[in-house]
Subunit: 381 residues, 3 copies
């Protein structure tokens, strides 16, 4: 048979392959368990399709740790050297900011009950920790499907964000690639397992540092509206789409967007380096992910010189504020919602340029509406 299915983990059936190494179209797939320090016990699945290699962390909500196009690493250098086991991430500390101790991924999901700024609940308790809990919950089912005929490879993991009497949300996260493809597709499903209605949020926190992000790097996006999150972001509004040198004490700048989509309902954004010789583009549906956030954190390299491109169901304000704006997904009992994000690495000028042209086409004659100051409804004023 041309299609092979491997179950790497299935807690219900007592399956958990600690070491796993198989050939797949164009390359190999390998699973290891990391040892020592804060990574003790973290499972890693590395997929190499012959051109692009990437590492997925089932222990951390199926996050995408890093990617490599040949020898070029795609991702960023966090001062936190991960992948960090969720046990060492103090997610529920009263400040709500413990999530930052596990943050070093190329892409991590923020959700499912909430994402965004931590929110203080009724009795002073932090009910919504920064960026939610899904990135620090382990998958209980992981499987790989590889097709010798088509060259397609797909890795899926199922992660439950469930608490008795509270949320019963299930993420089925899938990464698809193909022999020789210089990227991957994230194809997720979130299901409300409950017999009651539910609400959820999803934000894809997709992060890049050097060598892709360098002084003079640019974000190309088909912008309908851009709004600075706060006064600090407003300071940099005139150069929202370009990146400066690393800077000591840099305070992050965040911009909120409405993007333009094509006839297929999809939009594209591109981050390219200063010389336009390296880029990464994202493609996603503005119906599924209507709110786009750009996070600029060009701090010193030692502190994390990084930018985040964040397609989402909402802006990363507090859960309470976003709920008031109606920026949450409502799910009926048993209902499933789907999200898809394509990530393509452009390893040369020609490919970067082609990606840029597609975005120019989406922009067309529309003049971006650039707000100089934070706007009501977009952020809490």
């Amino acid at each position: 048979m041309a299609q092979h299915r491997y179950v790497l983990t299935d807690t219900a059936r007592g399956i958990h392959e600690p070491d796993f190494d198989k050939p797949i179209p164009g390359g190999t797939v390998r699973r290891t368990t990391l040892r020592g320090g804060r990574r003790e016990g973290v499972d890693l699945v590395e997929i190499d399709n012959g051109r692009f290699r990437f590492a997925v962390v089932p222990t951390r909500g199926m996050g995408l740790w890093k990617g490599w196009l040949g020898k070029t690493e795609i991702g960023w250098q966090s001062p936190v050297k991960g992948p960090v086991h969720p046990h060492f991430v103090p997610l529920t500390e009263p400040s709500g900011l413990g999530w930052l101790e596990g943050f070093d991924e190329l892409m991590c999901r923020c959700g499912l009950t909430s994402n965004g700024d931590p929110g203080t609940g009724a009795n002073g308790a932090n009910q919504y920790p920064l960026h939610g809990r899904i990135a620090n919950l382990p998958a209980h089912h992981v499987e790989l499907i590889a097709d010798d005929d088509t060259g397609e490879v797909s890795l899926s993991g199922t992660v439950d964000e469930t608490r008795f009497l509270f949320q019963k949300l299930r993420l089925t996260a899938t990464y698809k690639t193909k022999a020789g493809r210089s990227g991957l597709t994230i194809a997720d499903e979130v299901t409300n397992l409950s017999g009651d209605p539910a609400e959820m949020q999803m934000l894809y926190h997709i992060n890049f540092g050097p060598p892709l992000l360098d002084p003079g790097a640019k974000l190309i996006a088909p912008v309908k509206v851009v709004v600075p999150r706060n006064a600090r972001a407003a300071e940099g509004i005139s150069s929202w789409n370009s990146y400066s040198n690393e800077q000591a004490g840099f305070d992050e700048q965040v911009y909120f967007f409405e993007l333009l989509a094509g006839g297929d309902g999809k939009t594209r954004v591109l981050l390219k380096n200063a010389h336009a010789t390296l880029g990464v583009s994202l493609r996603f549906s503005t119906k599924q992910l209507p709110y786009f956030t750009l996070w600029k954190n060009t701090a010193m390299a030692a502190d994390g010189y990084v930018t985040g491109l964040e397609p989402a169901t909402n802006f990363p304000n507090t859960r309470i504020f976003e709920g008031e704006q109606g920026r949450v997904i409502k799910l009926k009992p048993g209902e499933t919602v789907k999200f898809e994000v394509e990530l393509e690495v452009h390893g040369d000028e020609r490919s970067v340029s082609a990606a840029e042209e597609k975005i120019a086409a989406l922009q067309g004659g529309t003049k971006p509406q650039v707000f100089e100051t934070p706007q009501k409804g977009w952020t809490k004023l």
Copy 2:
């Protein structure tokens, strides 16, 4: 020798048998370490006496995960698919409700410093998380004794709930069964290891779902007094002893009891299914466990269709309120208190009926006093 003693874990002597499989009277005992998802690293001890099988979780405070009479599972289907490793249970999150992320056992102990509703301390800090900590602490000593002559089998685990300058309480939890018995006896000891006096609480949270719990199922108990916990429970007081169909959005109903005991100081309660073909009865001393709570949560199956029968040293109100009512156990330095609960599964009509008759005898001519509304001293008004 007819009596065999196996030490499965003893941290003081560096003993920890990861895999263990032995014949015992009537069946086998088997210890495994679970892998993957939130159960990664959880130890499970399964005892089969030839008629009744049950699984104990040393990693989770010696909780009783599930039982099986032949192919009939006794326990419930929580939306939380456990057993969950304590590392993934955010017990100390500010809300005090993190315990609910690990809750899926047939029986788990609530204590030892406190149980019941979370209580807010002086500085806004949650000092008493919901149902306490003992169910999320691991045993450091586990041993099995099997007697070929009598057919008796006994599994003991020691769990310390200790914090320097605070509590120094030790639970020695024992499960006793016998070849061919359709149940088990919980025989616990709690010791104050401190040189100072101490206080403690214990509640046995014994939970049942389908097939035992079905629409029309009934609780049979020798009632002296029954009091609804709150207005929501009061709504259902007229049918406190029967169970309805699953219901979306069902809000739990809780009743507090004083039960009648026999000349031996022991009482009995029975949960039977609608057709009285399956039942479980509990037998315990009202001296040891004078306060009984019934928890009804007939929510949709996906959210946990379940009822809890809860013999305890107190009602599961906040630790502060229960302390004010004097419903705590005071222990001198070095003092030990004992608790015993017998659990019997009734697999046919005859056995269910016999159990029901014993409870009718305890009730005798006493008319239950049924309060229609919450009462002062039973619950905070």
Copy 3:
């Protein structure tokens, strides 16, 4: 080659030797992973130099668990039976006191962002948990160097206390000993990995119980000034340097010191038992560690009969108060600060007496200034 270097853990290179056993000058070094209870998964490195043996816990911030001079154990008997895995220490619980559930070491470091009493932040959240986080973070790099020629042995571990957007502090903790030496030297470095300036604190919490600490035991120190921390400590100021019998309900007494140093900038303190047949002395620089705290907790043995000798960069008041007094270390980007503490065990009267004479020399003709009450600036009044 006479010098051997063994890398026991290096997460960056995927090295983690679970079991390790090698001869070193005078003795052996052995690494094991503990199993069962709250110690499950804790790594222990035991070094025996032929005279003095000690156990280091890489999983717990390179803490010094216990030492043994022959059969005499140096350390204390905590009611918490460790070493406890950090996963079971609720460091971030709202009370800020969860650290006490892991505390049983002969020496543990308190820091790096803060140490001392927990401090409540702006929104009621506990930002500075008791004694900080470094003792509950695992080393990601551990190595041993043994020199056959000199007999010197050195164990180093690197522990990061890092949070994206917050602290980026690195501890490189080293224990040095030599074949036949009856003690060890702690030689630590703390580096600010950030591109921004940072602040840090360090306190060495060095703890002794029986047999060294007994009724009539004494602390010998070259005192310039001693100040009781609070009213409770003031009660015992006249006997601050001697220890009483174990006492039920004993409430800890804490004293703050300015110590006298010799021409080399170093001071010494000695704890000796009642008969002056056993002692431990510490030697350290008052430039590196200018603030010394004595903690007396002569509670019942079951609750921990123990005293703590605590050389530090500050007094263990709240981080906020100490900051106001300027008792924090300021580090430039990339800057490293060093700390060294020598610990020597005196196994006979002669050695105890010799150590005492050296301290008498430091005291010289200086009369200790003993305050009867807490003083402004030393503690929050």
